[in-house]
Each structure stands twice: as C-alpha cells, then as structure tokens.
Symmetry: C2
Subunit: 155 residues, 2 copies
C-alpha cells in the first residue's frame, strides 16, 4: 500500500461489506480482501465504528456490518471519522514565536487551503458508499467479471 493508507483501507472495506448483503464479515475476512493484517482492519474500522458508520459484534457469528444504509454514508463522513483531510494543512510549529513572514504565509496560503478544503468536502459529501458499490457492479458487469466472496487481490 502506498499512501492514503487508512482511507483506502476504510473505503475498500466498506464496499466489500456493503456488497456482502448485510451479513457481518470478520476482520480476518476483510483483511484477506485487502491483503493486510486483521489488526490493521480492526484499528481502521474501529474509527468508523466510533464515527457511527459501522457496528461490530463480538463472539460467534460476529463481525463488521454497516450501521447505516449505504446511501447515507458519504465519503466526507468517512474522511471525518478517520480524521483525514486529503488537503495538506500547512501547520506551523507553534513552539516558537513566528515572524511577520510566517504570519503572511499561513494567512495567504492557509486561507486558500481552507477554501479548497471546503470545496472538497462539498464534493465528497455528494458521493455515497452506494454510488461506489453501484460503480463496482457496473464495472464487474461490463468486464464479465464475477466478484468473488472473498477476493485476495493486491493492496
């Protein structure tokens, strides 16, 4: 895996969970789908659970399942639950007193970045997990590809 690790794990897992038809999937099954370790799955999906996006049940027959309908989960919700922004925040060391140059930079550049972040949030708020799943179905149909129950593809 390269970058955007948590977000990628989360979205990938969410699509698989949605396409699993309401049945719970264990961390191990999800991890096999993403070619990663179950603990990594628990860590990442745990943040989505705290964000009200997923629910987890323990013991026999337990696992992860969606806490809301797929069309009520937006990419913005997922990013918010993970604390990811996709736009670099340009944070400055608050330890030292900053000079006028640093102040200008944070204001000018930082102002633009805040605006851009707002635009991105607006866009991401309009894309739902249901959209992603539908897109996967379309691709699978076009390619004549049958999505297996538990895939073991790279990444």
């Amino acid at each position: 895996m390269k970058r955007n690790g948590k977000l990628f794990v989360a979205l990938h897992a969410l699509v698989h969970l949605d396409r699993h038809g309401g049945r719970a999937m264990t961390s191990e099954a999800v991890a096999a789908c993403l070619s990663t370790h179950p603990v990594v799955v628990r860590r990442t999906l745990g943040e989505l659970r705290q964000g009200g996006i997923l629910q987890a049940t323990r013991g026999h027959g337990g696992g992860w399942s969606l806490a809301k309908p797929a069309d009520a989960i937006s990419l913005r919700d997922v990013c918010a639950a993970l604390g990811e922004s996709l736009v670099d925040p340009l944070q400055v060391d608050p330890e030292h007193p900053s000079c006028a140059v640093v102040g200008s930079l944070t204001d000018s550049l930082g102002g633009v970045l805040v605006e851009i972040q707002a635009l991105l949030d607006e866009r991401l708020g309009r894309i739902t997990l249901a959209d992603l799943s539908a897109d996967v179905t379309e691709r699978a149909g076009v390619a004549g590809y049958r999505l297996p129950e538990v895939t073991n593809h790279g990444l």
Copy 2:
C-alpha cells in the same frame, strides 16, 4: 518544523530574498533566517533554481537571488518546481493487479481530487511572491515592527 517542509522553506526563503533588495544572500544567511541548516537551504532552493525561479552564483560575493521579478513568481510556480501538490494523490500500488473495487475508488475519488487540484492550482496561480512581500510589509507597518536584516525566529 512540522509538515509542508520543502514548500515552507522555499516560500519563507523567497520572501526574505525578495525583501533583501536584489542583493544575493548566502545559504548560510537564509538558513539563519529559517533556523535550519545551509545544506537544507541549498537542497530546497536548488529545486527552485532548476525551475527557473532562482539563480545561484558561486564564489566571493555569491549567493541566491531571484531569477524573475517577484510579481512573475506565483505560488503555483513554486509548488510545481518543488513537485508538491498539497492535495493527496491517492496513488495505488501498481504492483498487483487491482480488482473492480480499487478501480472504482481510484476513478471516483481520484476524479474529484484531480478537479480539486485544478481549482487549487488556479488559486495559487493568482498569488505571487510580490503579494506575499507586500503583506509582510503591511503587517510589519501595522505592528510597528522593523524586519531585521537577518532574523532568527523559530521555524
């Protein structure tokens, strides 16, 4: 220093160079301004030199100076010279063959990110080094603060 390291060093140095009145500044002098090491300055400013933003002269009386007027250097130019994007690229491991889910993710999220990156580039293209310097002058005037020749402020 926290994040956006290269970009912050570059912009901070550019403002100081612009405000130095056309005279060249040595790596050591710039490094003292940014509280960092001269080699870090050479590394970062070297990329700006290759991007045609700065010029460097060696030997006695040498140092760094702007290769273009300050109002002809935009923040977009600086980002481009540094190879920084400020928007996370969501790059996927090309090593493994990707499944339909990964394809959908890169298309949906990646498409939004490309749009956002274009918007950000447009904004950054309208902010020049001259704008930053003017803002610094304004702040210094308001605060009754005299910008020293060589500052040694944090970051």
